[in-house]
Structure formats: C-alpha cells, structure tokens
C-alpha cells in the first residue's frame, strides 16, 4: 500500500474531527479574534487594562492619600513605605501617579469619546442626508482643521481659561472634526450600497437607516480613530502642563506630576519624581496605539488572519 501524502493525512484528520463533532463554526467576532491573535495588540490591551484598573482601584493599591502633604518627609527616595518616594511637599508619588491616572485617562479617553460621539453623530446623519447641516458642519470642521493643533489649543486655552472641564471642552472642539469627516466619508460610500437602497424602498425612517444600518458598518475606522485621539489627548495634556496651560496644578494629573522635571535640580537628583510617571505616560500611550494598530489590522478585510 502506498503511503499517504501529507495532504491526504491532513484531510483525514479534518474528517475525523468532523465526524466526532468537534469542528464547529467559529463563534464571536472575527475582528476581535484577529486582534487577539496580534501579539502586540494583545500586550497593548493588557497594559491598558492594568493601568486603567490600577487607577480606578487606586485606594486598594495604596494606603496613601495623593493630596496629603508631610513637609518633614519631603523628597524621600523610594523605600518600602513610599515605593516611588515622595515629592517636594512629601506626598506619595506612587499614589499621585495612580490617582493622576484617573484624571489623565478621563481627559484623554473622555474627550476622545465625546468628540467621537459628536463627530460621528453629525457625520452619519449629515453624510446620509446632505443639505445645509452637512455644508455647515463641513465648513466648521475645515476651520478647525486649518489650524495646527497646538496653536488652536493654546488659543482656546487663553480664551476659555484653565480648568479640567475647559480642557476637555477644548479637546472635544479640536477632535470632533476629524471624526466627523471620517464618518461622513464612510457614510457617503455606504449609502450607495444596495442594501441601503433596499432599506429605503421599504420606507424605513432616515434615523433608523443612518444609525442602525449604516453606522455599524463604519465603526471599524471610527474605533481606530478613537484610540489614536485618546493617545494624542493624553500627550497633549502633558504638553500643556509643561507650558503651564493644562489642568490647574492643584489637581494631580500625569502631566502635572511630570512637570517638576523642568527643574534641573530635580532632573539631576530626584529621578523618582519624573522617570516613573514619564514611563507610565509613554507606556499607556503606547498601549493605546498598539490597540489602535491591532484594531486597524483586524478591521481591514484585505489582510486575512
């Protein structure tokens, strides 16, 4: 008897699996599965979740109050009591990084989500219906996008003043445009699809077609964009703190903790004040970017996986 070829063996194996009832159609989202197979994206997701959860559950991880000063205990190097040392007013740096993460992530992710909500909301409807809403939104977004990002943000900070809410407002204002244009472009091409025309002929309301039937098909790139915007806003928050124009210094944020590195003395002598928080920001932003990359790859049908 002739020995079986490798191909034959493979088919035999598949057949036996099939007969034993072990071969089931894969369940769950193909995109999600593809993303989980992307190692970097997976690592990104884990880092993201670890930092996010550590911030949310900060009180469980540290007994220190991030606002509690102790002047007699200032600028302590890392020790068992203060694992990342203390700052110039004796506050625990580890606790400040954890609690600071809450605000920084809120500013970054929150602004990106609100911006996306507005941009997508308008973009989906305006892209589908056209008309004056579309023209107005398009012109408005062109105006916002004609500015270099940082110039616009600096202008807006000086106009509305410094506060947490204002900063988020500014980020939303500068971020919705890109989201709007992205959604609009997707919707413009999707509305010509046959399934949409079929829905129209059934007499479905515009709202239903827009938000229930078109939008889900445009979500891939939107999700990618949300991650990129989140990363950008977190970096922008830190940059604005450096320029003294970010969240008021009384609120601990990653940016506000990191700015002490401007002081050359701290930079040279007290690494624990700036290195860990700098690394946390970079890691977090990197994680978000990797998730974005993974989402993009998995949303792209030309790449099989």
């Amino acid at each position: 008897m002739m020995s079986k070829s490798a191909l034959d063996k493979k088919f035999d194996r598949i057949r036996s699996l099939e007969e034993a009832g072990k071969l089931k159609p894969l369940t769950g989202s193909r995109a999600l599965r593809k993303m989980l197979n992307n190692r970097l994206a997976l690592i990104g997701l884990i880092v993201f979740l670890v930092i996010l959860l550590a911030s949310i559950f900060a009180p469980l991880l540290t007994a220190h109050n991030p606002m509690k000063i102790n002047l007699r205990d200032m600028l302590q190097a890392p020790s068992f009591e203060h694992i990342l040392g203390t700052d110039k007013t004796g506050r625990d740096v580890f606790a400040r990084i954890l609690y600071g993460g809450r605000i920084s992530i809120l500013v970054g992710l929150g602004s990106a989500l609100i911006g996306a909500f507005i941009g997508v909301g308008i973009g989906c409807f305006a892209g589908y219906k056209g008309g004056w809403i579309d023209v107005a939104a398009l012109r408005l977004s062109e105006i916002f996008m004609a500015f270099p990002q940082i110039i616009l943000v600096l202008l807006l900070v000086s106009i509305v003043g410094q506060s947490l809410i204002n900063l988020m407002l500014i980020f939303v204002l500068t971020g919705w445009g890109a989201m709007y244009r992205l959604t609009r472009a997707r919707v413009l091409s999707l509305r010509e699809e046959e399934y949409v025309q079929a829905l129209q002929s059934f007499g479905l309301s515009t709202w239903l077609i827009c938000y229930k039937h078109i939008l889900p098909n445009a979500l891939g790139p939107i999700a990618v964009n949300i991650t990129l915007t989140t990363a950008m806003f977190i970096l922008a928050e830190a940059g604005l703190s450096f320029l003294g124009l970010g969240v008021p210094p009384s609120i601990p944020t990653w940016g506000n903790i990191l700015i002490v590195a401007q002081d050359l003395r701290v930079l040279q002598n007290n690494w624990w004040l700036w290195l860990p928080v700098g690394m946390v920001i970079s890691l977090f932003v990197m994680a978000v970017n990797f998730i974005g990359d993974g989402l993009r790859d998995s949303a792209d049908p030309t790449l099989q996986g």
């Binding site: 110039k88 506050r91 809410i165 204002n166 008021p248 210094p249 002490v260 002081d263 003395r265």
Partner: protein, 536 residues
Amino acid sequence: MNKFIGVALAAAVQMTSSLAYADVNQLSDVRVRQAIAYAIDMDTIVETLFEGKAIAADSMIPNGAWKAPGLNKYTYNPDKARELLKAANWDSSQTLDVVFYYGDQLTADLMVAMQAYLGDVGVKMTYRKLEGDVGGQLNAKPDAGSDTSAIKWDIAYGAKAALALQEYYNGYQMGTSSYTPGNKELDGLIERINGTVDVAKQKTAFADFEKYENENLSDIPLYYQQLFVYESKRMSRNGGQYGNDQFNYDWNIVNWTVEPDAKGKKVLYTNTAPSQFFEHPWLNPGVFIASKAGFDHLLTADGSLVPTGGQLAKSFSVSDDGMSLTFELKDGLKWHDGEALTAADVAWSIETALKVPAINAVFAKTFDSIEGATAFKDGSASSVSGIKIDGNNISLSFAKLDPNMLLTFSQFPPLPKHLLGDVNPLEFQQHSFWQKPIGSGPFKIEEVQMNDFVRYTPFADYHGGVAKVDELVSFPSGQGDANVLKNAAAGRLDFGFTKSVGDVKALEAMENMKVVAADIPYTRSLRINKFANNAK
C-alpha cells in the same frame, strides 16, 4: 475619582459663576485672621519647602533697625487657632477662595501646604491662579463708603516689595485699598510715617504702626524673601559691595575684572536681556542689566539703598525744612551717542515721568510733591513751576514734604530728551528708543540680538572712568527660570541675582559659583479681604 472630579467641578463652577450676591464675610473678624496666622506653621515651611532660604515674618517691615520690639510672632499653635475660630463662631461649611499670581512650582506647593494647615483647624480653602486682568482682580476698589468689597477673593497671596518702607503701609489709606476698608486710626498712622524726615520720629511712628498691624492683621505676613547675589569665581568685584541688586547702588562695576577667555578677551556674562524690547527704567529702575549698567542717576546709594552722594551730580543740597533740593551736575557729561547730558534732560525727564503711567511709586510720590506738578499734569501749565534750571544747576521746590526724595534721585535715571522728546507718555514703552536705548552709564549697548543676547562695551567717555573688562554680554533669562541654571552650568553666567530658592540651592552646589545673601525689603503676605460683606 468622584472626589477629584467633584473638586474640579466645584472650582470650575466657582470660576465661571459671577452672580453677584453679598455674603457676610467672617474674615472681617480679627479673631479669624489671628486664627489663620496661628494655624500656618511658617517655621516648618521655611525649613522644608524653602530649604531655609527665607525668614519667617512677624511684620511687613523687615528685620533690622525699623522693626518694632515685642511683636507677637503667631508661632504655630493649632489649638489656639481652633479656640479663636470657635470664639468667632466660624462657619466651617464655607470654603475660602485663595488667589495668587505666581506661576512657579514653589507657590503651588505653598498653597498645598496652606490648604493642609488650614484644613487641620477646620478652615476649608481652594486656591487658584488669577488669569487675565490680574491687577484689576486684585485691586478692584469698592464704591466710596461701601462695606461690600469689589474683589471676589477672600485671601490673596502676594508680595510687597518696598523701595521705601512707607510703601508697605500707604496702601491702607481709606478708599485706596481693595481689601482693607481703612479707618481713621490707620489714616492717622499713615500720616505719621510720611510726615517727617526726622529718623527718630519716623522710627516711633513705624513701631506704632507695626504694633497696630500685628494685632489687626490687614495682611498676614508670611515670610521675608532674601535676595541672593551670585557670581562666578572667574570674576572679582575688587572691593565693590554687595547689596540690594534689584535696585541701583554703588557696586563699582567699572572696576570689576574677569579672567580672560581662550581668545584673551575679558567678557562678563549676565542675564536679564530683553526678549522683545528693553523695559524702561522708570518702573523697575534696577532689575535689568540694561538699566543698571546703561544708565546713571543723579545720586548714588549704598547696598541697603541709603543715598550716599552724587553720581551724575557733583554736589547736592537739601534745605533745612526738606522742602527744596538742588543738584549741580558734573561738567562734560555725555550720553552714549556723544550728545551732552544737561540739566534740561533732567528737567524734561521729571516732567515726562509725571505723565507716564505705571512708573515706580516712590518716584511718582516724589514728583507729585513738587510745586506745580498737578497743574502740569492736568494740562493747565506748560511746565512744572517747581523745577528751575540754571546752567548745570537744577533746583526743585516741593509743595509737600517727601521723606524719600533723595532715594528717588538715587534710583531715577534721566533719559535723553534729544531722542525721546517726541514720545507720547502713554505709549512710552512702545517708542522705538527701547529697541536699543542710549544711556549715560558705564556700559553702552553695542549689539542687540533680540531674544538671543545683548552685547555691551565700556563707554569711553564715562565720567567715572572706563570699565576694565572688554565686554559685557547678557542673555535673556530672569529669576527662577531654568535658563539661569543652564547658563551657569555652561559657564555663561558670571553675576546676577535671584530670589528663587531653587536657583540658590543649585547655584550653591556648583563649584564655579558663589552666592551671597542680602536682606531686602520684600515681604510675602496674605492679603485678607476684611470688608464686612463679600461680593462673590
């Protein structure tokens, strides 16, 4: 998370809502003010946050000959603070709105500390940096006779820097302060410190004022800031003294020397170069090197700013009643462009200064006291009748006694009439003269690279001899910015001054630098809104 967002939201709401409603202000109760003074542990703050580079204050007046004996130091005593608050029925549900206008990290840290100390005795506070029209927000004055303040804050952290000691208290005059309603007693005390040139009488008047303030706390004095004069080991003052470097004194810069560099050139490096224009010297007469080394004054002073003799003036005399003052200028004085510096320049400078807004307050007070100044200012006279010139002589007659007139003339630099004669006093700073000013001092400006550096060379016709170094170069950095340390580390900072604790500690750690501390009249305090009602 909710707690922080809550705090942030509260702050945001507080900042944006400007609904006017009157509110009974418990800070008008002296016991509350005293409690706040007891609650803040200034000694610990000085030792830790300030790293020992400040002196806890018990009065606005600095330590030394003018300090009244036996003042209450309000040494840290939280129990006493709680007791006083209880006696004053302090409503602990309210939150004090504390404002400040400095952008540095140390101020932010101090606010954190203050919040903790006040919180400890049951006084809640939030803090915020004033933005926009800072002066307006700090100094909004209430309608005459009103007992509701026009300012929105409860406490303002800030500094009072005084060229003349009277400046510490003159602002409390009834109807002029934004946070102290004023009263007859205060007005009487103010009259006494200004009404005499007799030093002994002045001292008693000041002592009485200090005792009154120590009890009533219009301002809660926090600490005296010292001034730190630093210099590199490359240079030598050759016996020149150290003093209050924020102003002008006889520092002997013409005799300073410095080791030659690799090319054999003797260059002194300093900071305070301009970024867009040279600030005119009639507001801060001695902060910028361009003002200090570029302009001379009629008189000169010692390190603690006591006038000692003539600079541009060969001689001067004061009448016995202190109501007239005469200068005789040296012969052959020249501006840096070679034009003669004359008595007419001096007279023109005084007259112009009367019309320039925002000049130094001590200058303004001296000039306003000259006979005919008011008529000149309101336009009813074309010149000031109290200023007479005759050849090299200038004589001033005063309508009102000004105890600080000599001080003024040791700091006020005359400016060249032939270059600035056409200036609109309201746009004084915007004149193109301030792109490359022509002065009368030992160094003249050779090259200006705005925002990069300014190069000065010795003025060959200087009346006090030609300076010994070849060049003076200044870079644009001020106090407390990172550039001071960067330049010092790079060997490009030979002398300068700073009030920043961070600078001092870092400079002291550098092998090539030495630091000398000088006591200056500069007091940081908490201004307390004492009006009976608060317009929030």
